[in-house]
C-alpha cells in the first residue's frame, strides 16, 4: 500500500484535473449552444454549415478568385453591425461587430466572385469585385444584408491580443475608409466596447492599462481555431 501512495497522489491529481476540465467543457455556454437540440434556427444551421459549404469547391472546375488580395469594410443596411472582410489568394477572413457587444470572427473561401465564410455561430455569403462586396451576414441567428467598399490601409481589419487584468483578451477592430473605428473586446467570455485604436500607431494600444498587441489581418490569417 505504502509503495503506491505517491502513485495514488499522482493519479488523484490527474483525475481532479480531468474532472475539472470536463466540468468546464460541459458548462461552457459556447459548447452548450451546439449541443442543445436546436434552441434557435441559427445554432441549428451553424453546425451544418461547413458541410453545406464543403461540396461547393467540388463542383465544376473551381473558378479563379476574382480578386487576389483586398480588404473591404462596410456596414449592414440598418447599421446594426459593421463588417470587414479581407481576401488573399482565395482565402478570406471577416469580422462583424456592433462596437458594443455583438461580434463574430469568420473564415472561408473566395471562389470566383462568391464569398462563403463561417464562424462559430455566424456566416457570411457575398459576392465581390475590385471595388465592393455585397451580401448577407448572419450572427447568432440575426441576418442582415450588408455592403462593403474595397479599401486601402490603414482602413481594414485589426486584431488585438493581450492580458487585461490577468485575463486573456481578444479584440477586433474595423477601421472604415473615413477613419471611424468600431471594435469589441472579449475577455473571459464577456464582450464589451473595444479600447481606442490608432491605426497609425498600433504599438500604443492599451486596454484598461494593459498593453494589447495589435496586428492588421489579411485574408490568409487564422481567426477561427477549431
Amino acid at each position: 500500500m505504502k509503495k503506491y501512495a505517491p502513485l495514488a497522489t499522482l493519479v488523484a491529481v490527474v483525475l481532479l484535473g480531468a474532472g475539472l476540465l470536463v466540468a468546464n467543457m460541459l458548462s461552457n455556454p459556447a459548447n452548450q449552444t451546439t449541443a442543445a437540440p436546436a434552441p434557435s434556427a441559427a445554432a441549428a444551421a451553424a453546425p451544418g454549415e461547413p458541410a453545406a459549404a464543403e461540396p461547393a469547391p467540388a463542383e465544376p472546375p473551381p473558378a479563379e478568385p476574382a480578386v487576389v488580395e483586398k480588404a473591404y469594410t462596410g456596414r449592414s443596411a440598418g447599421n446594426e453591425v459593421t463588417v470587414a472582410i479581407a481576401v488573399k489568394n482565395g482565402k478570406a477572413v471577416a469580422y462583424a461587430c456592433d462596437g458594443k457587444k455583438i461580434e463574430a470572427w469568420l473564415e472561408g473561401t473566395l471562389t470566383g466572385d462568391s464569398l462563403s465564410l463561417s464562424g462559430k455561430t455566424s456566416s457570411i455569403t457575398a459576392t465581390l469585385d475590385d471595388k465592393a462586396s455585397f451580401g448577407t451576414v448572419t450572427v447568432d441567428g440575426k441576418e442582415w444584408p450588408f455592403s462593403a467598399k474595397g479599401v486601402a490601409s490603414p482602413a481594414g481589419l485589426y486584431e488585438g491580443r493581450g492580458n487585461v487584468d490577468g485575463v486573456a483578451a481578444r479584440v477586433g477592430w474595423i477601421v472604415q475608409e473615413d477613419g471611424s473605428v468600431t471594435g469589441v473586446e472579449n475577455a473571459g467570455g464577456t464582450p464589451k466596447p473595444a479600447a481606442a485604436l490608432d491605426p497609425t500607431n498600433l504599438g500604443a494600444t492599451m486596454s484598461d492599462g494593459s498593453p494589447v498587441t495589435v496586428t492588421a489581418l489579411d485574408g490568409a490569417s487564422t481567426v477561427v481555431q477549431r
Binding site: P6, L16, L21, N24, S27, A30, D165, A168, N186, P211
Partner: protein
C-alpha cells in the same frame, strides 16, 4: 537511503531504468500540457470558484495557499534530511506527505483554468515564464512522485523536490504576486 542489498539486487541498470521512466513520464506531462495549452483555442470561459470576487482572485488565493504549503514542504524536507538542527518529530513524514498532497491539489483548479481558459501564451515575458513554469511544474511533480518509491540514485529526490518547489515559487511570483501587486489584496 536505499539499502545496499536492494541496490545490489536491482543493480545499476535498474536504477537507470527507474530514472528514465520517471524523467520520461515527467517530460511527457510537461510537453503534453504545453501542446494542449498552445493548440486549443482559449475559451475565455471557465467555471468560477464560489466565494471570490473573480476567477482571477480565486486563482491567486489558491496558488498562495499552495505556496504556503510548499514552504512547509521545504522546511519539513530540510528537517528530514537533518539540515535544520532540530530533532525530527515522529510526525514530520506525515506532515510532509499531507502538506504536499493538499498543496498540489490546490494547484489543480488553478492550472485547469489557465489551460482551458487561457492556454499557453508568450505575449509578454511574465506570461511566457509563467506558461513555461506551469508545464515544468507538473512534469517535475510527476517525476518526483515516480522517484519516491523507485530505486533511483539518492540525489534525484532532493533535486526533483527542489525543482517542484522552485517551479511553484516561480508560478506564484509571476501570477499571484503580480496580481496582488497590480490589483491589491482582493478576495
Amino acid at each position: 537511503m536505499s539499502l545496499p542489498a536492494a541496490r545490489n539486487r536491482h543493480g545499476r541498470n535498474g536504477q537507470i531504468r527507474a530514472l528514465v521512466i520517471a524523467f520520461g513520464v515527467g517530460s511527457l506531462f510537461a510537453v503534453g500540457l504545453g501542446v494542449y495549452g498552445s493548440t486549443h483555442e482559449p475559451t475565455f470561459f471557465a467555471l468560477n470558484v464560489a466565494g471570490f470576487s473573480s476567477g482571477i482572485a480565486a486563482k491567486a488565493w489558491l496558488a498562495t495557499g499552495a505556496f504556503v504549503l510548499a514552504v512547509v514542504q521545504l522546511v519539513s524536507a530540510l528537517i528530514m534530511y537533518g539540515r535544520i538542527p532540530v530533532r525530527a518529530p515522529s510526525w514530520i513524514g506525515t506532515l510532509h506527505r499531507w502538506s504536499g498532497r493538499v498543496a498540489v491539489l490546490l494547484t489543480v483548479p488553478v492550472a485547469v483554468h489557465c489551460l482551458y481558459a487561457l492556454g499557453f501564451q508568450a505575449g509578454e515575458p511574465r506570461v511566457l515564464v509563467h506558461s513555461l513554469f506551469g508545464c515544468f511544474f507538473y512534469g517535475a511533480f510527476a517525476a518526483k512522485m515516480l522517484v519516491l518509491r523507485a530505486d533511483t540514485p539518492k540525489w534525484t529526490l532532493p533535486v526533483l523536490g527542489g525543482a517542484v518547489f522552485s517551479g511553484l515559487t516561480a508560478l506564484w511570483l509571476t501570477a499571484s504576486v503580480w496580481f496582488f501587486a497590480t490589483s491589491g489584496l482582493t478576495f
